[in-house]
């Protein structure tokens, strides 16, 4: 579903992501794990085609996200870290807008509204929504058109414990029908919902393995992350 080859990105002199190589198969829930500033969001934005790589490439379903961005984007539903909502628009207006730019009719709106439990806020201005609802509206926008690949950047960021559990349950359900790639720095979240883990530290990949394998080898994901980072930093120095 996704293949990254020598993927790198710099911002001026700062190297955000350096020579990432990985391949993700369809039908799994994959976590991008790393501390804040590790390069998770940069990588996800390159996968969506919103950001051009400095070098290397990403293929989504065989389409190069830089050379064939629109064919690649047609496969992707993207929830950025900050939900991309127009505060001046009502929820229903934003859903219709996204249907229009995705070339869909409005018939799919009811299904995502039901799935994300948005019926009660459809007529509300998005600027007045709580953080939890904003996140769910953002997810509903990503789900419109039923794209095979969902990319969720910090989907539980800023939610209260009940909302976090609700969002995780939703992600688990979505994982049954879609390939889900999510970024997080919460390892408990990875253990709760993900099959596969990509660990990233200072822009470089330090682990690409199944969650079960890493837990089996190190006891838990936190130990796995610390051990892999230590080895990686030692190799670099």
């Amino acid at each position: 579903m996704i293949r990254a080859e020598q993927l790198s990105r710099s911002f001026a002199a700062r190297r955000a992501v350096h020579q990432l190589n990985f391949e993700l198969k369809s039908g799994s829930i994959v976590a991008f794990v790393g501390p804040n500033g590790a390069g998770k969001t940069t990588t996800l934005r390159m996968i969506t085609g919103a950001l051009a790589p400095s070098s290397g490439r990403v293929l989504v379903d065989g389409f190069d996200t830089f050379e064939q961005p629109f064919q690649a984007r047609a496969q992707i539903g993207f929830l950025p870290e900050s939900p991309p909502l127009y505060p001046e628009l009502k929820v229903i207006e934003n859903l219709r807008f996204v249907c229009s730019i995705k070339g869909l009719d409005y018939s799919g709106i009811d299904a995502v509204v039901e799935r994300c439990e948005l019926a009660e806020v459809l007529g509300q201005l998005q600027g007045q929504l709580s953080k939890g609802f904003r996140q769910r509206v953002g997810l509903a926008l990503a789900l419109l058109g039923d794209p095979p690949l969902l990319i969720l950047d910090e989907p539980t960021s800023g939610l209260d414990p009940a909302q976090i559990e609700g969002m995780r349950e939703l992600i688990r359900t979505l994982g049954e029908e879609h390939t889900v790639v999510l970024s997080t720095h919460l390892l408990s979240e990875v253990e709760a919902v993900c099959d596969h883990v990509l660990m990233i530290d200072r822009g470089e990949l330090v682990a690409d393995a199944s969650a079960d394998d890493l837990i089996g080898e190190y006891g838990n994901l936190q130990q796995a992350f610390l051990a892999r980072c230590a080895v990686h930093r030692q190799d670099r120095s």
Binding site: G49, A50, F70, I76, L89, V98, I101, K102
Partner: protein, 259 residues
Amino acid sequence: MIRRIVAVMKVELLRQFTTPLVYVMAFFLSALSGYFLIVLSQGFIELTLKFGANPEAANLHFHERIIAPLILNIEYLFVVVIPLLTMRTLAAERSQGSFELLAASLVRPWELVCGKFLALLAVIIALCAVIGFEPLILAWIAEPGSAFDYGALATAIIGLCLLGCSFAAVGLAASALTESPALAAGGSFLFLLFAWVLRLGGQGDGFFGQLLPALSPLTRLENFAIGRLSAADSGYFVVLIGIGLMVAWRGVDRHRWKG
């Protein structure tokens, strides 16, 4: 393609009309143009009374004495108003995060710019219609048989629309280059202020005295204001709009590179 452009245009119009700014500007423009109209009409009446016996001596042409100066005053208001109208179009998309939705969507950068520009075009036409409506009141209350040049008024309003659209294209370009709406407004205001300075350069003699005002969009409205359609002036506005949209398109596309 058309559906995406129309969708962007609709959302931009919703954004414009759900904030009070457009209504405040429409009120501000109609109030000031009404005030200008009254002052210019009073001056015209005084001249008529003074030179009534020999109207030719005072060049008492209704359109040139009232409508043209009115339109030329409105252009200065546009220098202030249009940057406020355009500042949020793309800059606020970035600052509020909705740009990410568009950047990762099937909307091409040029479709985004076209949609935004068409929405601004609709707002500017609405504002010009408000301004054009007030002189029509004079035509309705005038005595039957009075000479009111509807064609010249239409030409002047078309010129004002073209000027507004060229300012909007400049504002859109400024808004595409920053994520701060205030900076976008400031940037386009400075550009339009520079156009004003170019026009003032025409008060001198010599080569530059003729060249500099010809480069200013403000000068290009003069023919339209007196009811004269000019291909050169229309072409100038079209080119300025084209350059503005091109810069805006590059500004949007740059986001992929710059991040």
